[in-house]
């Protein structure tokens, strides 16, 4: 029950990890099924519409329901600790963000059981995604992502305000750890990118459910408009995915090289430039739509420009390691695996940025190879690195290094076996999103190797699940600072106590904890006297607000459906269900406004005893 009402960022972080982890497995199974179908030519295991549903859900689930929540898990678990705060700015909204994501993801996946999953690709291009050419599955996509998207948007606002307003005394912006910086820029990207996809989804929903004409060419509409709206969101989205991973790598590399991060200011500046430029390059996903040479050239050059600040980051990581005392913990193995893999993905990105060359690459497996290199080789490796690094801080236990190495090597080798051949498959002409291919076209061997690689990644993932289970059975005996690290989160016990910091710390420089260690102190200097700590109360309202929108979503999706039972027709066709769902949400908002939350206090006596009851 506590988990349904919690507003504690640490617990919400764990909820994000659990839900994101679950969806990661779902997306992973979808991927394995795709690779089974493509293992040999002319197979008939998952074909046609089924295959389209698998590939659509694999992409949509992995990006929206796995990667983003896992990143939010990290941001929740770690950012307040890194800035010396006791919680985020809006704990209630934090919980609401999680439940909205959860119900949006649930709605989307219910499609499997209710007539079929969306099948128009994770990009849902019009007119394929219009109701003329797609079934109800796309309605689930449109509604589910809108609900989940609102959750993400408010989460972004939450972290922006938290980082701006709630840093501990002495922590200026230029003394913040890199992970917090990347969380900050990522949150800004979320704030400005998600409204664009919301508008796109609303327009598609209006076309599909209410006879709109945005994408109906015969009625004056324009189908390329969808692509513009989608990618104005979609390109910043991939930077939303990768920037936090960059932040994790910065932390891990500097901790396990026992050296301060090289070029801190340039890292911060590079992150800002990447974030800003990320909004100016979206049409590189549209080179083949006939925008014309001027537009193509502008977007091509802008895209290549992003390689520069990214390169700055890569070199800074390398210079951090140079001359450092490197420890090959599993967290660091992931970070070290990230660097060359991400670079490989990046350079194929520069190749794709050339419009004329892209005419050949577009819609082929070359593109698939590129984005998996950067998303899996970048983001997922970064997430695994962060998990092994911060697991003790979140759970109080250290993951097994032995099993971790099995996890790493199976996944790493499997990854390259899966996706490296796909570059060549693309170059020799295999299109993407096809459910089979003819034999003896030169595609057989590479597809086979690619599928074997996928199985190895599956084994690696199972090893990780095994690691989590056996670790979960151990005692919670991690020390505050198992890695001899540099930043504030390691100054408090593992796992962090409910109130985070007994006394808000005083920050005296970059790498706040390291600064104290070098000055001979065992702990941070407090910035305030010991006193009662005010904590926000939990609430069940976020759960119900999200449930309300979930119900309303079904109400709108089935508004024009003819049921066998006449009663349902009355309920749905008059939008009574839709109205009911919206009413639940609005009433909860009203209750929230009217009833003041005074919270509760942890008294000084409890702080002085060892450990406060969680």
């Amino acid at each position: 029950m506590d988990w349904l009402t919690t507003v504690d960022h640490k617990k919400i972080g764990i909820l994000y990890f659990l839900a994101g982890g679950f969806f990661f497995l779902a997306g992973g199974i979808e991927a394995i099924l795709i690779r089974i179908q493509l293992m040999y030519p002319d197979l008939h295991i998952f074909v046609g519409g089924t295959f389209n549903q698998l590939l659509t859900m694999h992409g949509t689930t992995m990006i929206f329901l796995a990667a983003m929540p896992l990143l939010f898990g990290f941001m929740n678990a770690i950012v307040p600790l890194q800035i010396g705060a006791r919680d985020v700015a809006f704990p209630f909204v934090n919980s609401l963000g999680f439940w909205l994501f959860f119900f949006g993801g649930l709605l989307l996946n219910l499609s499997w059981f209710m007539g079929g999953a969306p099948d128009a690709g994770w990009t849902a291009y019009a007119p394929l995604s219009s109701d003329t050419y797609s079934g109800r599955g796309v309605d689930f996509y449109v509604v589910g992502l809108q609900i989940a998207g609102i959750g993400t948007l408010i989460g972004g606002i939450n972290f922006l305000v938290t980082i701006i307003n709630m840093r501990a005394p002495g922590m200026t912006f230029m003394r913040m750890p890199l992970f917090t910086w990347t969380a900050f820029i990522t949150s800004a990207l979320i704030l400005f990118a998600f409204p664009a996809i919301t508008v796109g989804l609303v327009e598609l929903m209006f076309d599909r459910l209410f006879n709109g004409n945005f994408f109906e060419v015969g009625q004056g509409g324009n189908v390329v408009l969808w692509q513009h709206l989608f990618w104005i969101f979609g390109h910043p989205e991939v930077y939303i995915l990768i920037l936090p991973a960059f932040g994790i790598i910065s932390e891990v590399v500097s901790t396990f090289s026992k050296k301060v991060l090289f070029g801190y200011s340039s890292m911060v500046f590079a992150t800002m430039v990447i974030g800003f430029l990320g909004f100016m390059v979206w049409a590189h996903h549209m080179f083949a739509t006939g925008l014309g040479p001027v537009a193509n050239s502008i977007f091509g050059v802008a895209t290549m420009a992003i390689a520069v600040p990214t390169g700055v980051k890569i070199f800074n990581w390398l210079f951090t390691m140079w001359g450092g005392h490197i420890r090959f913990t599993v967290a660091n193995l992931w970070a070290l695996g990230f660097i060359p893999t991400f670079v490989m993905g990046g350079v194929t990105g520069v190749m794709l940025a050339v419009p004329t060359a892209d005419f050949q690459y577009t819609d082929s497996y070359f593109v698939v190879a590129h984005f998996h290199y950067v998303i899996v080789g970048g983001l997922i490796f970064g997430i695994f690195s962060g998990l092994y690094y911060w697991w003790p801080k979140i759970t109080g236990r250290l993951l097994s290094e032995g099993v971790g190495k099995v996890h790493f090597w199976f996944f790493f080798i499997g990854f390259h076996l899966t996706f490296f051949p796909q570059h060549f498959l693309g170059l020799i002409g295999m299109p993407r999103r096809v459910f089979t291919y003819l034999p003896d076209q030169g595609l057989d061997t590479m597809n086979f190797i690619s599928s074997i690689g996928a199985f190895l990644m599956g084994i690696g993932t199972i090893a990780f699940m095994y690691n989590m289970i056996i670790t979960g059975m151990k005692k919670k005996d991690a020390v505050n600072d198992p890695w001899d690290a540099r930043t504030l989160e390691w100054a408090i016990p593992s796992p962090a106590p409910e109130y985070n910091f007994k006394q808000t710390p005083l920050v005296r420089g970059l790498d706040a904890l390291w600064k104290e260690k070098m000055a001979g102190n065992k702990e941070m200097t407090p910035a305030e006297p010991l006193g009662p700590i005010h904590m926000p109360s939990g609430s069940i309202l976020p759960f119900f607000m999200s449930l309300g929108l979930f119900i309303a979503g079904f109400g709108f999706m089935y508004g024009k459906h003819t049921f066998e039972v006449e009663f349902f027709n009355t309920l749905f066709n008059n939008y009574i269900i839709a109205g009911f769902g919206l009413a639940i949400t609005l009433v909860c908002m009203l209750l929230r406004s009217v009833y003041d939350d005074h919270g509760w206090h942890i008294e000084v006596e409890e702080l002085e005893e060892k450990g406060v009851k969680a």
Binding site: L191, F192, N211, N213, F214, G220, N222, V594, H598
Partner: protein, 205 residues
């Protein structure tokens, strides 16, 4: 967040910023407005793309009634001014004036909505329905979204007035009033762009 209630006696000069909670709410709302700018921006971009897509139906030049729009604009602009008066009253700790000016704002907002509904009904009678063509769909979506924002604002401010009557002006309620007034100004700024880009440019052709 430790002291949600003011010390016995004086309400601070800018009560909406007196607590960390209040400061957070204000900043959070400003940032939300930044996101709303992108939301409306993409709706404008859509409208600009599709405004000539009439599929043979009636076009903006012949459809729009500038007189109605002129009055709507005047009403909304005035309501923005009255919401400013409400904030001035709040900074002077005058609860009754605050609530009074907010009530006037709500009435003006309702008048705006009434005019807009009347305008839309006229257009529908002339065949300009939501489903008629892409121009119509994008027109109703953009202007309708704005109208929905006005409606939500009217509801929100009304409920705040009721809350104000019950709880008075405190460091807890002040940020709520301030945020609602920021929202109200924002939808007026959006309207400036709507009447310029949609109606005036529509008449020009």
């Amino acid at each position: 967040m430790a002291n949600a209630h003011h010390a016995a006696g004086a309400l601070p000069a800018e009560p909406e910023k007196a607590t960390l909670e209040g400061k957070n709410k204000l900043l959070g709302f400003w940032l939300f407005l930044g996101g709303e700018m992108v939301l409306f921006g993409t709706l404008f971009a859509t409208y600009l793309t599709l405004r000539h897509g009439t599929a043979g139906g009636v076009s903006a030049e012949h459809l729009f009634k500038l007189e109605t729009v002129g009055w709507s604009t005047f009403i909304l602009l005035t309501s923005s001014l009255t919401s400013v008066f409400a904030m001035i009253a709040m900074h002077r700790h005058q609860l009754k004036a605050l609530l009074g000016w907010l009530a006037v704002t709500v009435l003006l907002g309702l008048s705006f909505l009434g005019l807009e509904i009347y305008e839309f009904v006229e257009y529908v009678h002339e065949g300009h329905t939501f489903s008629a063509n892409a121009f119509a769909t994008s027109f109703y979506t953009l202007v309708g979204f704005h109208g929905a924002h006005v409606a939500f604002g009217v509801l929100w401010i009304t409920l705040l007035i009721l809350q104000g009557l019950k709880k008075g002006l405190t460091v807890v309620t002040a940020p709520k009033f301030y945020v609602a007034s920021l929202y109200w100004h924002f939808i007026d700024v959006v309207w400036v762009f709507i009447f310029t880009v949609v109606y005036l440019m529509g008449k020009v052709g």
